[in-house]
């Protein structure tokens, strides 16, 4: 299997190089047959990388310790599911996965559009091939997953126990699907620049792919947050660690992009801006991979590190120089077709949204590379941590939430007072009402009050839209359910987008509540003693132990009372792993979590003593569940938005939309 894997990777590299040359030469010489063979080559690369991945999976599942990668990432006591997920636990495997996902995307692009846009496509393929060549080169010559050890150890080093968790199993692959997905819209952008076909084709392809990657990045980030929350045992879900930022930055830039492409689609504006944005998004995605993989920025959880840093930097520099070079070369063809008419318009709301997302991405980028930057400039390493990121991003986020309410309802071109009053009166009243209620309830944190009020405002605008749309349909004789489902299914992009916004609102509510209103307490208790935490009371009923093949666990038995009434028994654990290999971790805390939509009770067994007493740390994190629910709503909205629809219904929706716009402008 090892030889099969190696040979597949080398063949994939050679064919990728062929794909690059054949597609460019074929496009230049107008040789359709060459382009066609390049396309087939791309399919072959995908096939070969599938074989290589299967070969590695086979070695992982059968614990072939003669392979360095297998010996370092698995062990005999590892369950099969985690032997499979070790595919992305280490450096070489992750990079193989990167290449595999990219080749699969390339194959999909080829199959979807091999007979369309014949001038654009060869260059798109060439760009994808270039990125593939880089990654396949790395796994072929520098970080080979099939590298042999000079001997066969009896036991592998095993997978870190904190990675043996279902969220950790799916979180990296979800993120990779998103990261790698950013390559495709970038390739369409580059294809447009290289071919000079700067019309609407690249935008319409790019938009769909960008939405797809955006969704996976968002879900990947949330899964990572959930993993950190359940497994790391510090009571939080986000720490502005470089590795988290690495995925957050391309997500921010992609968010800007999926909004501003709408302006280009509808108005033919912002062409240069969109092109720059997709280049920046791709840069940030590659940079993110680089941060995670090279270990250049010290992070507590970059699990795989190596010396591929300089190579990555070279590749990043090449991408930036080449793409912005092409951009400057084609700049004159990217002139806008429309002008901005008024600052009170949907166009400008989108512009501000973009500037703020990019500003946030810049701030996160600067904070992430600050240690390197300061060391280069001043000679001493200076860090900026969570306080910096929160201080900068919270105000930006608040304005963005405001714009999220404004953008969908304000009219195009120029909003009249009439339009503003008609659309925003009730949502604004809802926001004000929220402020009053929160003040009456005794809330004092200004930022939290603003955040909640803005969330109410956004919810108000979204419901206004749903309500109006449904009512219009009901007037035509449809019943509520039919009117509502048709409204959404015939305008998937628009209403799917609104549902995504509601998901974001839920996440914002959860994040605000759980970061502002945490209650925390740590006490050492003897058997029978209790600790009080707001309206909860935790009675410590003593320690007990159990043993499995892999670990010795010590449990604190705690009876939980809410307002004096017994509601549950919770059991935080401390595990000591028996494994005698060379893992870094042999201890692990297992959090006891009782989660409701009101709050999470998060209990950790910090330590226990020989006299039977235990140190218990307990936290009340309000409304954390809203974040995960928000994630599901966001996913639902994204699926609705992306869901393919017949061309006919889309046409219909678009026409209606234009008519409606005319209506409002005529009234003015």
């Amino acid at each position: 299997m090892v030889e099969t894997g190696n040979i597949s990777i080398f063949l994939a590299l050679i064919i990728s190089i062929y794909v690059l040359i054949a597609s460019i030469y074929g496009a230049k010489a107008r040789r359709r047959d060459l382009v066609r063979s390049a396309e087939n080559g791309a399919l072959a690369v995908c096939f070969l990388l599938i074989i290589a991945t299967i070969a590695l999976l086979h070695s992982l599942i059968n614990l072939d310790f003669s392979l360095k990668y297998v010996a370092l990432n698995t062990s005999t006591d590892l369950a099969t599911i985690y032997r499979i997920t070790s595919l992305w636990a280490g450096q070489a495997g992750s990079l193989l996965l990167w290449s595999l996902v990219l080749s699969a995307y390339t194959a999909i692009v080829v199959l979807q559009s091999r007979n369309k846009d014949r001038q654009l496509m060869p260059y798109v393929l060439a760009t994808l091939a270039t990125v593939s060549i880089f990654f396949i080169f790395v796994i072929a010559f520098i970080e080979s997953p099939f590298e042999k050890l000079p001997f066969t150890p009896k036991e592998g080093r095993g997978l870190n126990p904190i990675l043996q968790n279902i969220y950790m199993a799916i979180h990296p692959i979800t993120l990779y699907i998103g990261y790698v997905g950013v390559t495709v819209p970038f390739a369409f952008g580059m294809g447009a620049l290289l071919s000079g076909k700067l019309g609407d084709e690249w935008i319409s392809y790019s938009r769909k792919w960008a939405l797809f990657s955006w969704t996976f990045l968002a879900i990947g980030l949330l899964l990572g947050a959930r993993w950190a929350y359940l497994e790391l045992g510090w009571g939080g879900y986000w720490a502005w660690d470089p590795v988290e930022n690495a995925a957050f930055m391309p997500w921010l830039a992609a968010t800007a992009f999926i909004h501003s492409v709408m302006i280009q689609e509808k108005k033919g504006m912002l062409k240069k801006w969109n092109m720059s944005l997709i280049i920046i998004t791709f840069f940030l995605a590659i940079f993110g991979t680089f941060i995670t993989r090279s270990g250049i920025i010290s992070s507590v959880h970059s699990f795989a590190q190596s010396d591929i840093g300089p190579l990555f930097l070279g590749f990043i520099a090449f991408i930036l120089l080449f793409s912005f070079g092409m951009f400057l070369y084609r700049m004159k063809d990217l002139e806008t077709e429309n002008r901005f008419d008024s600052i009170l318009s949907r166009e400008s709301a989108f512009i501000f949204n973009n500037l703020l997302f990019l500003g946030a991405a810049f701030a996160v980028f600067l904070g992430t590379i600050f240690p390197i930057l300061s060391e280069a400039v001043t000679g001493s390493k200076i860090l900026v941590g969570s306080p910096y990121f929160n201080r900068v991003n919270v105000p930006i986020a608040l304005v963005l939430i405001f714009l999220m309410g404004v953008g969908p309802l304000i009219s195009w071109r120029k909003a009249s007072l009439n339009n503003l009053v008609k659309n925003f009166l009730y949502p604004i009243l809802l926001g004000i009402l929220t402020v009053i209620v929160l003040l009456v309830l005794g809330m004092k944190d200004v930022k939290a009050i603003i955040a909640f009020a803005l969330c109410a405002f956004v919810t108000g605008t979204v419901f206004t839209e749903f309500f109006r749309g449904t009512r219009v349909r009901m007037k035509r004789g449809e019943n509520v359910v039919l009117a509502f489902t048709r409204l959404v299914s015939r305008n998937k992009r628009r209403y799917g987008g609104y549902i995504v916004h509601i998901g974001v609102v839920l996440i914002v509510i959860g994040v605000t509540a759980s970061s502002v209103f945490v209650t925390e307490k740590q006490l050492t208790l003897n058997k029978g003693e209790s600790m009080e935490l707001r309206n909860y009371s935790l009675r410590f009923d003593g320690l007990s132990e159990y043993t499995t093949d892999a670990k010795n666990a010590t449990i604190a038995n705690i009876t939980l009372f809410e307002n004096g009434r017994e509601i549950d028994i919770i059991t935080p654990e401390r595990n000591i792993y028996k494994y005698e290999g060379n893992r870094e971790i042999n201890q692990e805390t297992e959090v006891a979590l009782r989660s409701t939509y009101k709050d999470d009770l998060y209990v950790i067994l910090s330590s226990y003593n020989t006299d039977g007493s235990a140190t218990i740390r307990a936290m009340i994190n309000p409304m954390v569940n809203w974040i995960w629910t928000g994630g599901l709503v966001l996913l639902l909205g994204a699926i609705i938005t992306i869901w393919p629809s017949g061309t006919k219904s889309r046409q219909q929706a678009f026409v209606r939309y234009t008519v409606k716009e005319k209506d409002t402008t005529i009234k003015v």
Binding site: S342, S348, L355, G359, F362, R391
Partner: protein
Amino acid sequence: MLKGKLKFIIAIGVIALTVSYLVYGGVKDTMVYYLTVEELMAQVPTVYDTKVRVSGVVVPGTIVKDTDGALEFKITDGSQTIDVAYDGIVPDIFADDVEAVVEGVYAKNDVFEADTLLAKCPTKYESTDSLYEEKESTY
């Protein structure tokens, strides 16, 4: 429509300035020097009571746990060693010989009072040394 364009430029300028101000203020107020134990000791009189982040390897056998969960240990860079006091969440991987990162204040009594404790996996994570050791022991 020069007036309209001007409004835009002003609005964009305001956003750019605000973001820059937030970044500048954020960096200025929250930045923390990242030092090795040696660098910390070199700055001893001036470094007292300023917030810094220090990394070093936990000296084996120096971890002392109080009954209420508070922690004392020593970290070293090979040549110099400092005492650290910490009360808070202890990462699972924190143990003897692990590289610890502490953030806090070096107090006048020469104890580093940490309010954050992070532990890093050894940097040579993908090293095969351990496998060799194992091989030797099995022979």
